[in-house]
């Protein structure tokens, strides 16, 4: 059996002293696995991803664990962790005249070779894949939201992590580019794993091979799309909607 690329066990997270956001979250992620993480607003999706990526830091409760390829998260230095996992959020901006290609090349920071000539090739390749090479001389404060998101994805590819966490990172991208990015990310993946958060369920289900459902900070259900979408847990998390999912087609309606 292969080593899971990410294991989370018994994870609690407190935003403040008396506001708990995650409750005993446990799951594991295999290499090549693509997960769609579903959940209503405020269910803890972003918090979970940021905690895994090490952006949110907190002491783990006794017995809780986060492991990358078997190694405990807190044993990684922050640079090492950034070679293992990265988070791409809904907003990637710089209010300064920073060119898109310079922003992408920062992805090499954890590898310590940002200014090498190989990095130039990597940046070119990644920006070409994410359809933003023509933006390379443009400044980050002069391009649109969707364009910045493509630059952010190119940055993540240059960073070359084993686990990629996408938090609404495709949400402002036009459909044409969205299809292209899905294909390109699939080609790029190889043995890597991806967790995708998106409220666009068509996108989520098209892109993923399994679904995690989180509600009120608890991981309610994990499994294939059929298993999760038809579960009682799904009704509990999204009481207002009726789902019909078969053979890769999703129909969503209001619950009568």
């Amino acid at each position: 059996m292969t080593q899971p690329s990410l294991e989370v066990f018994g994870l609690d997270y407190f935003a403040d002293q008396d506001r708990q956001v995650l409750f005993d979250v446990t799951f594991s992620l295999e290499p090549k696995q693509r997960v769609a993480l579903l959940g209503p607003n405020g269910s803890g999706k972003s918090t979970l991803l940021k905690r895994i990526a090490g952006i949110h830091r907190s002491r783990l409760s006794p017995g809780a664990q986060i492991r990358f390829a078997g190694r405990l998260q807190h044993e990684f230095s922050s640079m090492e962790l950034a070679r293992e996992v990265t988070y791409v959020g809904p907003e990637f901006r710089a209010d300064f005249p920073l060119s898109a290609s310079d922003a992408v090349s920062m992805g090499r920071f954890p590898h310590g070779d940002r200014f090498s000539s190989e990095t130039k090739d990597r940046v070119h390749d990644a920006m070409e894949r994410m359809g933003c090479w023509k933006l390379r001389f443009q400044n980050m404060n002069e391009i649109s939201h969707g364009e910045r998101q493509r630059v952010a994805l190119a940055r993540a590819i240059v960073q070359d992590p084993k686990v990629l966490l996408l938090d609404e990172a495709l949400s402002q991208i036009d459909l044409n580019h969205q299809f292209m990015l899905e294909d390109q990310l699939s080609k790029w993946m190889e043995a890597r794993s991806i967790i995708l958060v998106s409220h666009d369920w068509n996108l989520s289900l098209r892109f993923s091979d399994s679904v995690f459902l989180i509600h009120e900070g608890k991981m309610l259900k994990t499994g294939s799309a059929e298993q999760v979408l038809s579960s009682e847990a799904m009704k509990k998390a999204f009481p207002g909607i009726q789902l019909n999912y078969s053979k890769g087609r999703l129909e969503i309606d209001r619950r009568p």
């Binding site: 940021k50 990526a53 090490g54 952006i55 949110h56 922050s78 640079m79 090492e80 962790l81 950034a82 070679r83 990265t86 988070y87 791409v88 959020g89 907003e91 990637f92 901006r93 710089a94 209010d95 300064f96 005249p97 920073l98 060119s99 310079d102 922003a103 920062m106 992805g107 920071f109 954890p110 940002r114 404060n141 952010a152 940055r155 960073q159």
Partner: protein, 318 residues
Amino acid sequence: MKKAVVIAALLWALGFWFSLSFGVLDSPTPEIIAGLRLPRALLASAVGIGLSIAGVILQSLFSNPLAEPYTLGISSGASVGAVLSSVLHLSLWFGKSASTSLFAIVGAVAFGLILVLSERSRSRGTGSGSTHLLLTGMMLTFLGSSWIALMIAVSDSDGIQSALFWLLGDLSRAEFQPSLLALVSAAAFAFLAYRKAEVLDLFLLGEEAASSLGLSVQKQRRGLLILASCLVALSVSSAGMVGFVGLMIPHFCRRITGALHRPLIPLSAIVGAAVMVWADLGSRLIFQPIEIPVGVITALVGSPLFIFLIQKRSGVTS
């Protein structure tokens, strides 16, 4: 970029030479040149370097183009520290000017920490809430100013004059040795900032992205804030609160170098020194024989620029 550095260095040298040559007296004695004009030119250069590099650091650190020592209240903190030391007539270890500088550093760091903490409590992450940051900074400036006024009023050193010095910024108190020391330390701190260029680059993307790129944000932020505070304190403790230099210079230089810090920091340092030397020359000569505080000149140019940048920024973000 190299061309820009050379031109800026030439302008600085020219300004320096003019500073030594021109003044109220047409044929100055060597004592006037060495004892009055040279220290001023040295101090102007030190203040220019200190404030522009502090501006570069603070703008990147808060990923906010409107940040600078004066608008964030960090200058005010340094000033409070310096005034406190001088009204208490403190002279620790190395004497009076060292204790003034030390207190200025403590004041600047303290006000800087208040900013960081209030930023943190507002939101964990993006650092895009410029209104919050700038309002807090403005209030810190008011708070600092009132403390300064209070301390000066109670201690009655030389009242209004001294208050003007601390609140507006003035180079007329320059003396040779402290000024030379200030210039050397400003250059040294600027070099430290240059060594941190790659880290500062990452902060341009905001804390969240910087963190997912493997930067220990908290630790680096603390270090850089202390570095910026030292730069501010060194300027403020010898020349009072000169405003907007840290805003204008980085913006101007970014137009030439872009936002990456390896080219930006050296150019900002030299341009900062050049601009301050010329501004000082202006403050001495424009209304001759009356001398106006140099901070008046920088604020006259800087505050309209600040308003312009706010306009431009709100256009971009909406």
